[in-house]
Amino acid sequence: MADLSVKICGVDFKNPIIPASGVFGYGREYEELFPLNKLGGIATKGTTLHLRTGNPAPRIAETPSGMLNSVGLQNPGIDHFISSELPYLLTKDLVVLANIAGSTVEECVEVAEKLESTDVHMIELNISCPNVKQGGAAFGTRCDMAAEVTRQVRKVTSKPLVVKLSPNVTSITEIAKAVEAEGADAVSLINTLLGMRIDINTRRPVLRNNVGGMSGPAVFPIAVRMVWQTANAVKIPIIGMGGVSSGKDAIELMMAGASAVQVGAAIFTDPFAPVKIIDEMNDILDSKGISSVGEIIGSVQPW
């Protein structure tokens, strides 16, 4: 048994596997299948100040080795999260990353303020949702905006602050450096890539929102590249994600520089994916005689 534990921003994870925000709700539906305490952590559904109804359907489309979604941050609002979801999750012996989002800097700040008096372990500030008209990716695709929202949220929270970055940018390392400079404790990447499908019979986009975020195995090499580039650009830890669907993928992303790994679309294919990935990582490390997963973080030997 390899030691799978990792420490990020002073927070101990029993293993580095975290279901990504948006695929896993607040965990309850998957608890019917396996105990949540098998997971290193959970990134909860992106939560805004007030209830959001999200985008009209269809919100989902299949793509080669992946999928598109345009859910549009449907969520019950931060007060409901704090009163009805968070206390339950905090009893489950895993790290809770509260994923938060907003249409304005002020909204992000207000949501973070509300979490300050809770026992949530980490905040994951989503500046990269491609499916909302205001905020979301608008913050994540401009260095000045990414810096500003990070600076303002940093002022009101003492929680470890993870900023979730968009891949839909010219240089993800510039954005990462900008949020690091404003006090982000870690970055998580990559959010989904903006994509589109068209039904050739109706000439209508498959998604009612026309465009949506692409995820799944097809984006994995992009995630590896961006994690690697970011690891070379910042000193803060990286939580990697994007198309991870096996223990081998998770180890690859950690070698690129990730200290932990989020799992998204793979859970739709196999709801047990996070648990299987943990087991597979352990087997791979054992077979290579590596005693601790920490040893592989950033261990890629580039040419």
Binding site: G22, Y30, G54, P58, I60, E62, G66, Q74, F268, T269
Partner: protein, 256 residues
């Protein structure tokens, strides 16, 4: 157990019409937990997303489920390649099914095309108290008529081209039955315009009506919020989710 995921043995495969297949699947735990109107979420080899397929038969004694599905695209084509003796990967049983009541004296089950299979478990529940109206493109696309009759239900067949049964839409014979009265409940699954028409007739005649909807879906269990459906909840518009709040909704809750 509410639902589980696993590999289950296909014990029977039949081609029931062009591009429409029937599987019998041995899954005692799932069959035991399943109820009419629920669905199974099937992994298609090589695809990211599972495919939701409604349950067409529940045999709790044999421990089997039956599904009848149409090849609609690449994913269902992949599932259709499976044969008797193969394992099928299912997350099941899922969703909120039909509300049944053994006190009902007369119910109408309405299926449009591949929306017909989820009506069979209801026909088996209600037996001779059920009238099944089903509509298809043509004679060769008509499925399950013998199964409905074996369950004791009366069948009314409609085809778009008049090659069998009544020439026209299911809403025509249904409207006639609705006017005669004495109907305790209507259950329907099929294309949206059909469901909308049936809901309207039920509203006019003050008949309890439940409809089964479909939508592009990811998780299948209510976590990802992908399969949104506009509904009324406490008089407010709300995006419910077909996988968890549905697939069966009270018709009056659905905003068209």
């Amino acid at each position: 157990m509410k639902y589980t995921q696993g590999q289950f043995l296909i014990t029977k495969k039949d081609a029931v019409a062009r591009n429409i297949y029937s599987f019998e699947i041995s899954c005692p735990e799932v069959a035991d937990a399943a109820s009419p109107g629920q669905f199974v979420h099937i992994r298609a080899n090589g695809f990211t997303l599972r495919r939701p397929i409604s349950i067409c038969g529940i045999n709790k004694v044999k421990g089997t489920l039956r599904i009848v599905f149409e090849i609609r695209g690449e994913g269902t084509a992949e599932i259709a390649k499976l044969n008797k003796g193969d394992l099928i990967d299912m997350l099941a049983p899922l969703g909120h099914g039909f509300t049944t009541d053994s006190n009902f004296k007369k119910v109408i089950l309405i299926g449009g095309g591949i929306g017909t299979p989820p009506m069979l478990p209801l026909a088996q529940f209600y037996g001779s108290k059920a009238v099944v109206i089903s509509g298809f493109r043509n004679y060769s696309a008509a499925i399950l008529q013998e199964d409905f009759r074996s369950a004791g239900a009366e069948t009314i067949l409609c085809t778009d081209d008049g090659s069998a049964g009544i020439h026209g839409l299911v809403t025509v014979p249904f409207a006639e039955l609705a006017e005669k009265g004495g109907i305790d409940a209507v259950y329907a699954c099929g294309p949206l315009p059909m469901l909308k028409g049936i809901s309207g007739i039920c509203k006019e005649n003050n008949i309890f009506c439940q409809i089964s909807l479909e939508e592009r879906m990811a998780c299948g269990i209510g976590a990802c919020l992908g399969c949104a459906c506009r509904t009324l909840k406490n008089d407010e518009e709300y995006f419910a989710h077909v996988c968890k709040d549905g697939p069966v909704f009270n018709a009056e809750e659905v905003l068209w």
